[in-house]
C-alpha cells in the first residue's frame, strides 16, 4: 500500500457515488468537446480552400452572376494557368426533400484544378467505347462523355442510397423544372476538408437548360502558376471589371470559404457560453460529491492525523481523490467525443467540412476536467486539512 492506493481505496468506498460522478463528468466533457468540435470545424472551414487559388465572384454578392466573357479575359492574364467555372445549383431531391446537399455546375477545367483535393474512384461509362484522350483518367472521360452526367461524393451516394449509373431527377429552385442526372463517377476526397457530399455536373447542361444559353457564371476559380502573385492578380482582375455592369471581387479560395464561416455570426459565441455553463454545472456535481465524501469521513481524518498524517498530506489526499474522478471522466468524455464525432463522419449538410475534434480541444477538455477536480476538491480538502483532531474525533456520524 502507498499514498496513491490509499486514495484509490477511498474512491472505492462509495463506488456508486464515484461512478455516478465520474459518468456525469464524462458526459459533460463529451458535450464540452463536442461543442469545441463545432468550433474546431468552423476553424477548419476557414482553412478549407487553397491559398494559392483565387475565386472571382460578383462584387455585389454571390447571388449575382457574371458573364461568361470574363473567362477569356481572365485566362490571358499572365500568371493564370487555367480558369474554371462554377455555378451553385440549389436543387432538391423530390424523393428526399429534407436531405439537403450541395450541387455545382462546373466546366471541364474544374477537375484538373482540383485533382489534388479529390480523386475519382469509380465510374460507369455511358457506353462501352468512351474515347479517352491521351493522359486523361478514363473515369473522368466517362463523365465527360455525357451531357447529363454527374459526379457525386462517396458519402452522398451512401446517404441518399444512390447507385453508380443511376439516373436521379432533382427539382430546381433557382433553375426551375425537373433535372435528370446520371451518376457516372464517384469521387473520394483527398483532403478531409473537401468533403464527400457534393454533386458536380456539366455547366453546359445548366446553361442550355436552365439559362436559355445566357451563360451566366457564378464564380470563376483561377489556378495560378505562381502562388506568390495571388494578391497581385486578384487586384488586377478586379480592376479589369471595376466599371462594368458586373464588378468583381477576387480573393484567395481560403478567404472565400472563410466568408461562409463568418456568416454564422454569433453562433460560436453562443457555443462558448453553453460550454461554460456545462463546465460550471459539472463543477457543482463534482463539488457536491467531494463535500459528501468529506462529511462522512471527518472522524477518519481525525484518526489519520492522530497517526501523524500532516495537514498537507490530508489536503493532497482529498484533492487527488477529486482530481482522479474528474480526470477519469475527462479522459473518457474528451477522447470519447473525438472518437465518436470523427468516427461518425457527421457533417452539417455539406455546408461545413466533416466534423472534427482537434487534439488541442481534447487536451483542453482534459485540462478543464482536471481544473474542475481541483476546484471541486479545494473546499473539502481545505476543510479536511484544517480540521482539528480533537473535534474530528468527537464528531460521531
Amino acid at each position: 500500500m502507498n499514498f496513491f492506493s490509499l486514495v484509490l481505496v477511498n474512491l472505492g468506498r462509495n463506488k456508486r457515488r464515484t461512478i455516478l460522478t465520474l459518468l456525469s463528468v464524462t458526459v459533460a466533457l463529451f458535450l464540452f468537446c463536442s461543442l469545441g468540435g463545432v468550433l474546431d470545424t468552423l476553424q477548419e472551414a476557414i482553412k478549407v480552400g487553397s491559398e494559392t487559388r483565387l475565386v472571382t465572384r460578383n462584387a455585389i454578392s454571390l447571388v449575382f452572376p457574371m458573364p461568361l466573357s470574363y473567362r477569356d479575359r481572365i485566362a490571358v492574364l499572365p500568371g493564370v494557368k487555367s480558369v474554371a467555372l462554377q455555378n451553385w445549383f440549389g436543387a432538391t431531391d423530390p424523393k428526399n426533400p429534407r436531405n439537403f446537399f450541395a450541387q455545382f455546375g462546373v466546366d471541364d477545367a474544374f477537375f484538373p484544378i482540383y485533382a489534388g483535393d479529390m480523386t475519382l474512384v469509380e465510374a460507369s461509362p455511358p457506353q462501352a467505347d468512351v474515347a479517352v484522350p491521351q493522359g486523361m483518367d478514363p473515369k473522368l472521360a466517362s463523365y465527360l462523355a455525357e451531357q447529363t452526367a454527374c459526379v457525386v461524393g462517396e458519402k452522398l451516394l451512401q446517404k441518399m442510397g444512390w447507385k453508380l449509373g443511376q439516373t436521379v431527377t432533382l427539382s430546381g429552385t433557382i433553375y426551375p423544372g425537373s433535372w435528370p442526372f446520371t451518376i457516372r463517377a464517384v469521387y473520394r476526397a483527398r483532403k478531409k476538408s473537401f468533403g464527400e457530399e457534393t454533386m458536380f455536373f456539366h455547366w453546359k447542361y445548366l446553361n442550355e437548360h436552365g439559362m436559355q444559353g445566357r451563360a451566366w457564371v457564378g464564380v470563376y476559380v483561377l489556378d495560378l502558376g505562381d502562388p506568390g502573385r495571388a494578391a497581385d492578380l486578384a487586384k488586377q482582375v478586379d480592376a479589369m471589371f471595376e466599371n462594368s455592369d458586373a464588378a468583381t471581387r477576387t480573393e484567395s479560395e481560403q478567404a472565400f470559404q472563410a466568408g461562409f464561416v463568418s456568416m454564422y455570426g454569433n453562433i460560436p459565441f453562443v457555443l462558448r457560453v453553453i460550454g461554460l455553463a456545462v463546465v460550471f454545472a459539472i463543477l457543482l456535481v463534482a463539488a457536491n460529491t467531494m463535500m459528501m465524501a468529506f462529511r462522512e469521513r471527518v472522524s477518519e481524518f481525525g484518526v489519520l492525523k492522530t497517526l501523524g498524517f500532516e495537514d498537507g498530506m490530508v489536503f493532497r489526499m482529498v484533492l487527488a481523490e477529486a482530481a482522479i474522478i474528474t480526470l477519469g471522466g475527462g479522459l473518457l468524455g474528451s477522447l470519447g467525443a473525438k472518437l465518436a464525432i470523427e468516427g461518425s463522419g457527421f457533417n452539417v449538410g455539406g455546408f461545413l467540412p466533416p466534423m472534427s475534434v482537434h487534439w488541442s480541444t481534447v487536451a483542453t477538455g482534459i485540462g478543464v476536467a482536471f481544473l474542475v477536480g481541483a476546484v471541486s476538491g479545494l473546499i473539502p480538502a481545505w476543510q479536511a486539512a484544517r480540521l482539528r483532531i480533537v473535534e474530528a474525533l468527537r464528531r460521531v456520524e
Binding site: 456525469s24 458526459v27 426551375p176 454545472a281 457536491n288
Partner: protein, 388 residues
C-alpha cells in the same frame, strides 16, 4: 397513508449545500434548454412576423425562397389587375412587386462580411407592409438614390448609419432612415425604390409579388386560378405561412442542437441528483426504517422520496427559469441559409418555454430519484433499525 410533504421539504432545506449544488446543476441544464427554445422561437418569430396573415405572396413555381424566385413585369401586372386584389382609397391595387436580392456587406466591429437582403419596393407597396415604421430619419424619396435600413442590422453593418452612403452596383445610396417592423426579419433588410435599385443592380423584373385580397375567404379559389394560369408560372401562398416556412431549416437545426445539448447535460444533472438522493436516503436509513415500522407502506416511502427528488429539481428548475429570463430580448444574428442572408433576431423566452423548462426539471428529478427511492423503500428493516 401518505408521508406528509412537509417532511420532504424540511429535509431538502436541511442540507443546503447539497440541495443548492444539485439544484443549480439541474438549473443550468434548464437554462440551456430554455435558451435553445428561446433562440429557435426568436428566429421563427422574426420570420413569422414578416408575413401578414392577410397578405398573399406569389413566387415563381418551384422557388423555395425569395431570392430564387423571379416574377416578370408582365406577370406582376396581370396579377395586380386581378379583381380579387384589394384596392386602396386611391383606387390603386394593394399589391407590392418587390425585387429581393442579397448583397455582401462588411460587418461593423467584426472582421469579415456577410450577406444582407436588399428589398426594392414601389412607393405604394408600404400600404401592404403596414408593420414598417420609420423610427429615425425619414422614408426614402421615390426616384432618388436613397435607402432605409432595418433597425436591427443598422449597427451591425458598415455604412448603415443615417447620412452614410452604401453602394449598390455602381451607385452610392444615402441612408435616410431606420425602420422597425415589429421585430420581424424585415428589420434585417435594406429597403429602397424599385425604380432606382433595379437599374443600379442591373436587374429587371421582380422576385415576389405580395398583395391583399378583397375577400380572404376566396383564397383557395384564387390560388387555383393563378397557379393554373399558363402565362404566370407562379405559386401562391399565404404570406405568413411562406415566411414562417423560411425559418424551418434553421429553427429545426437550433432545436435539434438544443435537444442534443440538453439531453447530454441532463444525463449529468440526473447523475448529480442521484448522488444527492442516495446520500439523503443513506443518511436517513434509520428514520425510514422507523417510518416503515410505524406502518407506512414501502410504496408511500418510495413516493415520498420521489417527491423529494422532484421538489429538489423543481427548485433547480425555478433557478434555471430565473437565469434564463435575462436572455429574453438579447439580439443575436446568424445567416439564414434559406434566404442566404443574415437575420438579426431577439431571444424569446416564452411562458410555454418556461413551463417546458420546469417540466423538464421535474422529469430529471423523477428519473434521478427513482432508484434511490426504490432503494429506500426496499431496505431490510431489522438491519436498518440497528443502524449501520
Amino acid at each position: 397513508m401518505a408521508i406528509p410533504l412537509s417532511y420532504n421539504i424540511r429535509n431538502v432545506l436541511q442540507r443546503p449545500v447539497a440541495t443548492l449544488t444539485t439544484a443549480v446543476g439541474v438549473g443550468l441544464t434548464v437554462t440551456i434548454f430554455i435558451g435553445a427554445l428561446a433562440l429557435a422561437a426568436g428566429f421563427q418569430e422574426a420570420l413569422r412576423q414578416s408575413g401578414s396573415a392577410a397578405n398573399v405572396i406569389a413566387l415563381r413555381k418551384g422557388a423555395d425562397s425569395e431570392i430564387s424566385s423571379y416574377i416578370s413585369r408582365d406577370a406582376a401586372n396581370i396579377v395586380r389587375a386581378h379583381p380579387e386584389v384589394a384596392t386602396g382609397p386611391d383606387g390603386r391595387p394593394l399589391a407590392s412587386p418587390e425585387m429581393v436580392v442579397v448583397t455582401n456587406k462588411p460587418r461593423l466591429g467584426q472582421p469579415g462580411s456577410s450577406n444582407v437582403t436588399v428589398r426594392a419596393i414601389n412607393p405604394e407597396g408600404l400600404a401592404v407592409r403596414s408593420a414598417v415604421k420609420i423610427v429615425e430619419g425619414r422614408m426614402f424619396t421615390p426616384g432618388t438614390d436613397e435607402a432605409i435600413v432595418g433597425k436591427r442590422i443598422a449597427p451591425r453593418f458598415a455604412g448603415c448609419g443615417i447620412g452614410e452612403k452604401i453602394r449598390f452596383g455602381q451607385r452610392d445610396f444615402t441612408v435616410v432612415g431606420h425602420f422597425t417592423a415589429e421585430g420581424s426579419a424585415f428589420e434585417s433588410e435594406i429597403w429602397g425604390d424599385n425604380a432606382v435599385l433595379q437599374p443600379a443592380l442591373n436587374r429587371d423584373g421582380f422576385q415576389t409579388l405580395t398583395f391583399r385580397m378583397k375577400d380572404p375567404a376566396r383564397f383557395a379559389a384564387l390560388k387555383r386560378e393563378l397557379e393554373n394560369d399558363p402565362r404566370l408560372q407562379i405559386q401562391v401562398q399565404n404570406e405568413q405561412n411562406f415566411y414562417s416556412s423560411q425559418s424551418d431549416m434553421l429553427s429545426n437545426i437550433m432545436r435539434f442542437m438544443g435537444v442534443f445539448i440538453t439531453a447530454i447535460m441532463a444525463v449529468g444533472a440526473i447523475f448529480g441528483a442521484m448522488n444527492t438522493m442516495y446520500a439523503a436516503v443513506g443518511q436517513r436509513t434509520r428514520e425510514i426504517a422507523t417510518l416503515l415500522v410505524l406502518g407506512f407502506s414501502p410504496a408511500s416511502v418510495m413516493v415520498s422520496f420521489m417527491i423529494e427528488s422532484v421538489f429538489l429539481s423543481l427548485i433547480g428548475g425555478a433557478i434555471g427559469c430565473l437565469l434564463a429570463l435575462p436572455i429574453n430580448g438579447i439580439v443575436t444574428s446568424t445567416t439564414n441559409f434559406q434566404s442566404f442572408s443574415e437575420v438579426a433576431f431577439a431571444f424569446r423566452v416564452t411562458p410555454p418555454a418556461l413551463l417546458a423548462g420546469l417540466i423538464f426539471a421535474a422529469l430529471m428529478g423523477a428519473v434521478g430519484g427513482f432508484l434511490p427511492a426504490l432503494h429506500a423503500a426496499r431496505q431490510p428493516l431489522a438491519a436498518s433499525l440497528r443502524g449501520m
